[in-house]
Amino acid sequence: MISFLGKKLQNPLVLASGILGNSADILARVHDAGCGLVTMKSIGPAPRDGHKNPTVIDMGGGMINAVGLPTPGYAHMDAEWQALANRKFPLNASIYGGSVEEFVRVARFVSDQGPDFIEINISCPNSDCHGMLFGVDEKSAFAVTSAVKKAIDVPLIAKLTPAAPDIGRIAKACEDAGADAICAINTAGPGMVIDIEAKMPVLAFKKGGLSGPMIKPIAVRCVYDIFAAVSIPVIGLGGITTGEDAVEMFMAGATLAGMGSAVRYRGIQVFDQVNQELNTWLAEHHTTRDAIIGTAHGSARADMGDRAGTTPFAAREDQKGTP
């Protein structure tokens, strides 16, 4: 068991938003398969179908997707919320909106359903009017984070995009606005795949976010930059498929390690497998996860602060405003 923002997690692995998180049943299965913190598919303000297929294509070294933020809408998930109220696992609820007001409306409702964390998706590249707009600009990121923070009773995680010109500054703006943790990265790009026989982009939305092993170096760099810029914990994800990938992400500065596309390559059991690989590596190197967080920063590394995320959420609230 580890502690993250005052909540107990069975291990430091996280299910990325948008992967499998469609129902309480499947979230429970992912938890039982060894995932410390499962994340719901992003919940929006109104029903939305997402894009036509093809929406998700595997490219071998990773995937490209433009699913397009499908959501029943927060108000149309009664059975789901009921099932989740009786859950036996920690839950991260990802949300999105098309404006600060929409983010707040969704956040307030979702907070009342009692998730353990709320993650604001200010980083999705696959909609023209949602998400990423807020994650590439410090002022917008600050505005949406601070507004949501005031509306909710649970720790707030800001999910960031590598498309930001300086992701460290965006992370700092979120921290200043009251975010309790940063999650990075969302998919990279957007990119495009054209089929030369069909003479058109394969994805119906034409462009889409890249994920999986092909983006791991971008994710590691982003987490490294964020670690240097903030003192709140970071959930690092992007291309992690092995225990050694997770070690690399911890060394860049992550407190928890998320996985999504890895489910494509190793199945749902990837969580148990990576957890074992991680523990084996740590044991062989006579070290612990806490001890390796941020070590790639060497002597230049910032004061550790509460990187391990062990301070209870309530206590963190009391520290607000202190440097």
Partner: protein
């Protein structure tokens, strides 16, 4: 060969129009395949949907499409020479047993995934095929195995449900002390598959059914096709009795494109648009 990454563009080599509602598109391309698996069919500029492989030889494969929605009407209107994208095959397929004491129960276009299975099973199987009317019977002359028909209007075989025939046969085998079925395979409307499953449970017989849900990725990450805690595209589409017993969503709930969980009837209405 498998094409589980970017779609592979293939020309429609041949089209067989079975009747006004069903057509099979053939592709002259080898593909690794186990009965019950499916491919994603991309019509560029239109959409991409899952279809089971209904014909398979070392050199070619075919998919049978029922024209009932926007995409499927477009698909049956394709002509030889038209280019489409294929990804797959995906999914687990049926667990094939060699026993002669097996039953296959097909409802409507549920015949499509079962056809390559029937061709691999012991020819002494007990084979039931139900449809709305005689006109909707797929592949009327395809199989060596004897087929028992049921239709809603009695235009072919017995008027009534496939489960009527299946139950009679189960009782008959019990009364005559004949070996009971070692496996029942079913595909068709989910309400029919549930009736078959329930009948099998009552008689203590194992069954396998092939489920259908709205799909996106086809390889188990997007979550669009979850049924209870099972991912239909990778854990299925074929599920066993033991799995079905634990799947409360079976014959009850399915997700719309938005991810909203709705009663199965509402899902079926939406899927037929």
């Amino acid at each position: 060969m498998t094409f589980d990454q970017k779609p592979v563009m293939l020309k429609v080599a041949e089209k067989t129009e079975h009747n006004p509602y069903f057509a099979t598109l053939f592709f002259n391309c080898p593909i690794d395949f186990h009965p019950g698996q499916f491919i994603m069919l991309w019509i560029p500029g239109i959409d991409e949907k899952p279809y089971t492989i209904s014909f398979h030889t070392p050199a070619r494969f075919g998919i049978t499409i029922e024209a009932k929605g926007i995409f499927s009407r477009r698909a049956v209107a394709l002509s030889p020479g038209d280019l489409v994208g294929i990804r797959g095959p995906f999914g687990n397929g049926f667990d094939i047993i060699s026993s002669p004491h097996v039953a296959v129960v097909a409802g409507g276009c549920g015949m499509a995934p079962l056809a390559p299975l029937v061709e691999r099973l012991n020819p002494n199987l007990f084979f039931i095929h139900g449809a709305r009317t005689k006109q909707f019977i797929l592949y009327p002359d395809r199989f060596k195995a004897k087929r028992h028909f049921t239709t809603d209007d009695g235009s072919l075989g017995q008027k009534g449900f496939v489960t009527d025939l299946l139950e009679n046969e189960m009782k008959h085998r019990t009364e005559k002390s004949l070996p009971s079925f070692d496996m029942v395979y079913a595909c068709g409307p989910e309400i029919m598959m549930h009736a078959v499953f329930t009948l099998c449970e009552t008689h203590g017989i194992a069954c396998q059914v092939s489920l259908e849900r709205y799909m996106r990725c086809g390889f188990g990450v997007c979550g669009a096709c979850v049924c209870s805690d099972r991912v239909v595209c990778t854990d299925g589409p074929v599920f066993t009795s033991e799995q079905l017993e634990k799947m409360a969503d079976f014959n009850r709930t399915a997700l719309l494109k938005s991810g909203r969980a709705v009663p199965l009837d509402d899902y079926v209405t939406w899927r037929c648009q």
